[in-house]
Each structure stands twice: as structure tokens, then as C-alpha cells.
């Protein structure tokens, strides 16, 4: 019995560590000649998680950009990979707050496309995101879940 409880709690704690959820990942509509694309999403992590790598087959590079909006002035800056850390709780990549940037797109992204992005966590786990390309003026569709580990 004791053994079973230990096993269950180990399983539960492993599950908790893996508890990163991605909600509503999307890419604002952009022209075919665009060379980079922003990805917005909302992430929920049960505990701080470091991201060691980010990749997408549609871009040469995936980076994390922080945004600040002060009185109508937007400031955008790249975050150093060493600081790619998801804090416990919610991380919002939203317009005006931050985003992932797909740099040097290898192909045009069209409205309706689902763009795969892989986040490799420091513990080796991989988190798959499928970001929908959609019009930036339409309200977000019903919340879509992308919660998948490999």
C-alpha cells in the first residue's frame, strides 16, 4: 500500500512538472512577403520552467521578444536565450506584451494555416504548439487547447 502511494505521488509529481499548457496560440495575418511573424499565446506552467530551445519548420529561428507600451510608444527587445524562463503561473504572449518571433520565414504563412512550433524544455521534454494564422481584427475563436508532450 505504502509502495503504491509512493508510486502514485511520484507519477503525480512528474505530471505536475510537465504541467505546461498552451492556450490560443495564433499568428496575426501577414503578407506573403513578410520575413518574420509574431506568435501570440497564453501559457500556464505549474512551476518555473526553462526553455532550452525553440524551433519551427517554417522559420530559420524562433526567438522571444518582450514588448513594452509606454504612452503610445512601443518598445520591442529580444530576450537572451539564457532568460527563456516560464514562471509558475501564467505567461502571456499577447499584443503589446511579448511574443515569439519566427525569424526568416522559409515559406509564406496564409490565413487558416496551423504553424507548428516546438519548445524544448530544460528537462528535455518537448512542448508542441500549433499556432493558427488568422485575421488580427476578428475576435479570438473559442479557446483551443494545444497541450501535448512527447
Amino acid at each position: 500500500m505504502k509502495y503504491a502511494i509512493v508510486v502514485i505521488s511520484l507519477v503525480l509529481s512528474a505530471w505536475a512538472q510537465a504541467g505546461v499548457q498552451v492556450l490560443q496560440a495564433w499568428i496575426p495575418e501577414l503578407p506573403p512577403v513578410a520575413k518574420q511573424a509574431a506568435v501570440f499565446a497564453e501559457l500556464h506552467s505549474d512551476e518555473p520552467v526553462r526553455i532550452s530551445a525553440m524551433n519551427s519548420p517554417v522559420a530559420e529561428q524562433v526567438v522571444w521578444h518582450d514588448m513594452m507600451n509606454h504612452a503610445g510608444q512601443l518598445h520591442m527587445m529580444a530576450r537572451a536565450p539564457a532568460d527563456w524562463q516560464l514562471p509558475a503561473g501564467k505567461t502571456v504572449w499577447a499584443s503589446g506584451q511579448g511574443h515569439l518571433m519566427l525569424v526568416h520565414l522559409k515559406q509564406p504563412l496564409r490565413v487558416g494555416d496551423a504553424v507548428p512550433i516546438t519548445l524544448t524544455l530544460a528537462n528535455g521534454q518537448q512542448l508542441q504548439i500549433n499556432a493558427q494564422v488568422r485575421s488580427s481584427l476578428r475576435p479570438a475563436p473559442e479557446m483551443s487547447h494545444h497541450h501535448h508532450h512527447e
Partner: protein
């Protein structure tokens, strides 16, 4: 009429008058308030594709002007999508509107790339750029702020509504709806009649 009665009538009349005044002040005005002329902007000339483009060529038309760049993640494509939505909503009246997108990133935004980028949203968008000093001068006219250092870019994100004489009349922030811009454009078109 007794003194008390006269007083009652006077109080009643005063109450009635106040009620009428309150009702009048809160009555929705059918005519929109005139838009002020803002101390921003002036005639400007920048590069459009291979040629120079002067804002004077839009005299008689209303302009929506925004400063941005094509590597911009969200606000700039969103602004251009708004320009397209304003044109669509205006229908026939859209021929009296010139949407202008000024790139503040001349190193990465060549005139040809800029044209292609903007044309995706609407072939009517006038996509402009210039030398650093030309851009700095135009940004100064509009009190627009920007700085570009590789990936680190800062810029102000206002959309300016200019009237038929090129005078700035409304400054929209990014929260402003497409409907608000359509109403602004229509008010200026109406004003000119």
C-alpha cells in the same frame, strides 16, 4: 394671488425650467462636434517605390497616416488590416481616402519590399520611406517617435487622420475601432460639402 401662492408658482416654474434645461443639455446631439485642427503634421515628401510622393498629391482627399515597419510583429500588420477594413466599410467613399504607411526602418524596408507588403492589405495604401534624415523630419512634424537598432525597435503607434488640406484632425491610438475611423473620415467628407 396670495403671496404664498405666488411663491408656489415661482418655485414650480423654477423647477420646470431646471428640468427643461437638464433635458436639453442631455439631449443627444444629431450633429457630431466639429473636429479640432491639431498642431501636427505638414506637407511631406517621401519615396514611394521608385518615385517621390508628396502629400500635396492627396489634397482634396482625407488621409490616414501611420508610422511603422514591416518587421513589426503585430501593431503594423494590424494597422494595415484596419486601413483595409476602413476602405471596405467606406465603400464608394473610399476613393476619397488615402491610407499612408511610413516605414521608419529604411535599412530593412526597401521601397519595393514595402510596396509589396502594403499591397497585400490594399493596393491603395501609399507605402513610403526615405533617407534617415527625411524620415526624422516627417516624424518630427507629427511628433512621432521611433528608434531602430537591429531587432530593437521602438515607435509610436498612433494613426493620424488628416483632412482635405492635410491638417491633422484626429489622433487615434491602437484601441480606436475601425468604426471610429470610418466615422472620422465620413465627418471630414461631410464637412467639405
Amino acid at each position: 394671488m396670495s403671496r404664498v401662492k405666488r411663491l408656489r408658482v415661482a418655485i414650480l416654474a423654477a423647477l420646470l425650467l431646471s428640468a427643461l434645461l437638464i433635458a436639453w443639455s442631455q439631449w443627444p446631439s444629431t450633429a457630431a462636434k466639429p473636429l479640432p485642427v491639431l498642431p501636427l503634421g505638414d506637407v511631406f515628401e517621401l519615396q514611394r517605390g521608385e518615385a517621390q510622393w508628396s502629400s500635396q498629391s492627396a489634397t482634396g482627399q482625407v488621409m490616414l497616416v501611420n508610422f511603422g515597419y514591416t518587421h513589426c510583429p503585430d501593431i503594423c500588420p494590424m494597422t494595415l488590416a484596419k486601413f483595409r477594413a476602413v476602405e471596405t466599410a467606406l465603400g464608394e467613399q473610399a476613393k476619397s481616402l488615402v491610407p499612408v504607411f511610413i516605414s521608419i526602418d529604411p535599412v530593412r524596408d526597401t521601397p519595393a519590399h514595402l510596396q509589396q507588403y502594403a499591397a497585400y492589405f490594399s493596393p491603395h495604401i501609399v507605402a513610403l520611406t526615405g533617407t534617415e534624415s527625411e524620415l526624422a523630419a516627417v516624424a518630427k512634424q507629427f511628433a512621432a517617435y521611433y528608434s531602430v537598432a537591429g531587432d530593437e525597435v521602438s515607435h509610436s503607434d498612433y494613426i493620424y487622420l488628416l483632412d482635405q488640406q492635410g491638417r491633422a484632425r484626429v489622433l487615434y491610438d491602437q484601441q480606436a475601432s475601425v468604426d471610429a475611423m470610418v466615422a472620422g473620415v465620413q465627418q471630414l467628407l461631410q464637412e467639405a460639402l
